[in-house]
Symmetry: C2
DNA sequence: CAAATGGTTCGACTAAGATCGAACCATGAA
DNA sequence: TTCATGGTTCGATCTTAGTCGAACCATTTG
């Protein structure tokens, strides 16, 4: 009859240092092993194993066996979204106490949120896409326009191939540092992968920070310049990637 | 350097039975006293007092003194939103285990989310508003159109008066049972208040359920019929309310 | 095969924190 | 003022669950 017990289980699960540390580490869609996670959280591997089992049991994590390794991932985007919500509230709470400003400037500038781009540049991209009619907000959700499909193709991403995958194609995700939306879903994931493939940006080791080179950031911003919507799709740049966005 | 510790504090806070019970009770924007909350959660008042202090300290609750009573409220809509996210994930997790269907049909049909309408009827209203151009989704967020303003006025809500209040005017809120959006913000709150004032629906005691009378639900749906956008605002229905949506 | 490494299970220890009884403070009523 | 009621603070208790050492299972490598 009451709904409280349900949320207690999940919240209590996240409300532990070691587990939260692991979850945060997994926010960067990397699949990590139990020992790696143990080291990051500063506990022994048997403790982490214990925690991972619990998280899996409650449906927050998924495992993938590969040889003698077991790779752990977040169970899905919905988990990442919940964690982002929590961060939003947590940092807001902190501000009231410590009244600190930007905590980690690099993290606010650009970071990975599950598997897509977040932070200042993430919302920039999202809003530019709406501005230039690559995306449209409809009652049912986000929609990729025809010209948008061409735009992605021009930048080496075959949106049609992505659309066939099971996971939600494109959706908005609330950015906790900017408190505005950025692009998530398979499309968002593909874009981030493309950015990295082009060498515009690199992931920092063991963190969610994405560092853009000066040239890379300029290229990103240039994607939305006047030359953004050529009526003839220019496929000479690269063969369209058929990204596997599992 | 790490962001985990922050979310741990909030999550651990919610991850306790008594506290979660209190938070859920407060999801229905009602302001409740410590003893009331204690009874609901099944603990003594001193324990609840202890918990409430913690929740307040972390910025999840706000208090209001009134005579010898102290009324507790959620600190704001952001808290309610987080709780809804948690429920979404919690119930999803349950489904995997117990594979139960609709848990509480009435709750899914219509309920209060903080101070606005949620559930099946909530998302119906929201989507109708987009459909009929009462609201528009823009890059910056939701926008009330000119005709939308007239529409609200016709139904006894003075949107201009609400806009002056500090809280966010109108925004979308993700509905955990429907997994789609419903209308939140001052506008959403005013609408729900109006619905109740007109006697179309009543709040169930000690629950978030909103029960619509058959006539009430029909009236609600009729709001979006063809007679929805008269060029001349019909103010004869009632004087526009200047609702205080604190 | 044996050795090495990744991962889990088991049991015991420990610390954190939820709980309540009792005393205490504040406000309002008689 | 005295009584009653709402609320908090303090101290003691007790349970929960996070932790690690050690043993154990599984898989790959030499």
């Amino acid at each position: 009859m009451n709904e409280a017990p349900n949320i207690v289980r999940v919240a209590a699960l996240i409300g532990d240092n070691a587990r939260a540390e692991a979850l945060c580490a997994l926010m960067s869609d990397r699949a990590l092993t139990a020992t790696e996670l143990a080291n990051m959280a500063g506990v022994t591997k048997q403790t982490m194993s214990f925690h991972l089992a619990k998280l899996r049991e409650e449906g927050l994590l998924a495992v993938e066996k590969q040889g003698r390794h077991r790779y752990f991932r977040l169970a899905g985007p919905h988990v990442a979204e919940l964690l982002e919500s929590l961060m939003g509230l947590a940092f807001r709470g902190d501000d009231r106490h410590l009244s600190i400003g930007p905590r980690d400037p690099a993290l606010r500038k650009a970071r990975v949120c599950y598997d897509h781009l977040a932070g200042e540049l993430g919302v920039f991209v999202y809003e530019q896409m709406l501005e230039t009619d690559i995306l449209q907000q409809l009652p049912g959700g986000l929609k990729l326009t025809k010209q948008g499909r061409l735009w992605f193709l021009k930048h080496g991403i075959d949106a049609d191939a992505l659309a066939s995958s099971k996971r939600s194609f494109c959706r908005a995700c609330l950015d906790w540092s900017e408190r505005r939306n950025h692009l998530a879903g398979a499309l968002g994931a593909a874009l981030l992968a493309r950015i990295q493939a082009l060498g515009w940006a690199k992931r920092e080791e063991d963190s969610r920070v994405i560092v853009f080179s000066a040239k890379g950031e300029a290229s990103l911003r240039a994607m939305f310049a006047v030359n953004n919507m050529p009526p003839t799709p220019d496929t000479s740049l690269l063969e369209p990637l058929s990204l596997v966005c599992k």
